[in-house]
Symmetry: C2
Subunit: 271 residues, 2 copies
């Protein structure tokens, strides 16, 4: 449930229907977990947002004010989720082409922390919905998310907690709302995101935490044909943290050791 | 310039910031040209919209009321453009997954007919921005349009009227805001849209008009390597109609005969 909404600093939940975020998905978002009245990993979220603005040539600059606004919204006793949507703003004229002088729209909503997703038993399948490849958009958390919507629609009745998605070329990319790691013979490996997928904040935290613990993480192309040899796998996002997969495409995975170690490390207070 | 806006039948230009159209681009749109106070080719627009609703499992059914609403908006003396956005509506809860019981949002805006785009000299290039491939979304006019935004951003300074876009696999698909036809030895050919691209209403009208005139139209994969052999090409959308390309990647195209014939046919009053 939404407990607060602010649009461009005002307490409203209305936006202009001519906003390019609505017309074209021309914008970015961040889903920020807030604990003890503070947003977690805010610097990493804003870093990704900044990369997205550069890539989309979205002329937003006031990251300091935005940061303060997110912190203010997080200032509630119970843990919460603050979602930021940053669009290119209302269209200056018809058509896809930005004029370059748009005024971005920022939308902040605070949500109750959702119930559910018990950590014990996380069943993960492979989605039949694939991800189109575009290196210019890969890694960004942009607003063009129909593929994820379709993947989640298709899994609605499948008694799964998450699905992994392949690129149109058949390579494994990640979960519909998470990144994925596998334990191999020499440490961990996780899909490269050069062609599609979202470079998650928790993915980055896991890579940093693994490095600090001396665990190698290979970022590389992952073929779905490798999955039958895997005995430990986990999905990550800022809400789930490091979430072990108990069954992958119906096959039980027994490994938990990397996930347990990393879960402690990513939650370390100095991060 | 926008001269009227209605959201769900009310005279407002505000939508909820929790609309899935804004959050995920979870919706569809149509750009409808209106002449003599009537929308043109409305049946074809609504046919495509209906296909899109089915593909996205977007539970909108009231096409009759929508049709009447579009007709009412078109009832102005000067020609105009009516844009329809149909989204899955406000989110029922967090996350990509639709609940299935959303109430779609329909946004209608009427725009002045834009100046510009003289028919005489239409220079067209090839965009470096490619289109991700997804058969589930191909053909639809959905709201995930960042690739088109990026292509139009890149051509801003290039003194071109349109750019053609390739799929990630390197096949020619169409213009950033149009479809494309080429004249070959045995009639016309136009790219198949099985993997990406928008199946335009004017593209359909051109195919029908060509059939009625006994001109063969092959819908097939088109390799950009074929372009140097082409001597006539045209782009189509409902606003431009059939628009001859005078220069393609800097090479002058002299052919005009198919475009001239088809222009008369698609405008025939019985269509």
């Amino acid at each position: 449930m939404i407990t607060a909404t602010r649009v461009n600093g005002r307490a409203t939940d209305q936006v202009a229907s001519s906003d390019r975020g609505l017309m074209y998905g021309d914008g970015l978002f961040e889903t920020i977990t807030c604990v003890d009245a503070r947003p977690r990993w805010l610097a990493l979220h804003l870093q990704r947002l900044r990369r997205g603005c550069e890539r989309l040539q979205l002329p937003f600059a006031d990251f300091e004010a935005l940061s303060a606004e997110i912190e203010a919204m997080a200032r509630v006793p119970e843990r919460s989720i603050v979602k930021l949507i940053l669009t290119r703003g209302p269209a200056r004229q018809r058509g896809y082409r930005p004029q370059g002088n748009e005024t971005p729209t920022r939308i902040l909503t605070r949500h109750e922390w959702p119930a559910g997703n018990a950590a014990a038993d996380f069943r993960v399948g492979i989605s039949a919905v694939r991800l189109g490849m575009n290196p210019l958009l890969a890694g960004l958390k942009h607003l063009n998310r129909l593929e994820q919507v379709m993947a989640q629609t298709a899994m609605r009745d499948a008694a799964l907690e998450e699905v992994l998605m392949l690129s149109s070329a058949g390579q494994l990319i990640g979960g519909s709302m998470s990144n994925v790691f596998f334990a191999g013979e020499a440490g961990l490996f996780t899909p490269a995101l050069d062609d599609c997928g979202v470079a998650g904040v928790m993915r980055q935290r896991v890579c940093e935490a693994a490095a600090s613990a001396g665990i190698a993480v290979q970022v590389r192309a992952v073929d779905p044909g490798e999955l039958p040899q895997v005995h430990e796998a986990f999905v990550t996002n800022v809400r789930w943290g490091v979430q072990s997969i108990s069954a992958l495409s119906g096959r039980t995975l027994s490994g938990r050791s990397h996930a347990q170690q990393l879960r402690r490390l990513v939650d370390a207070p100095d991060c």
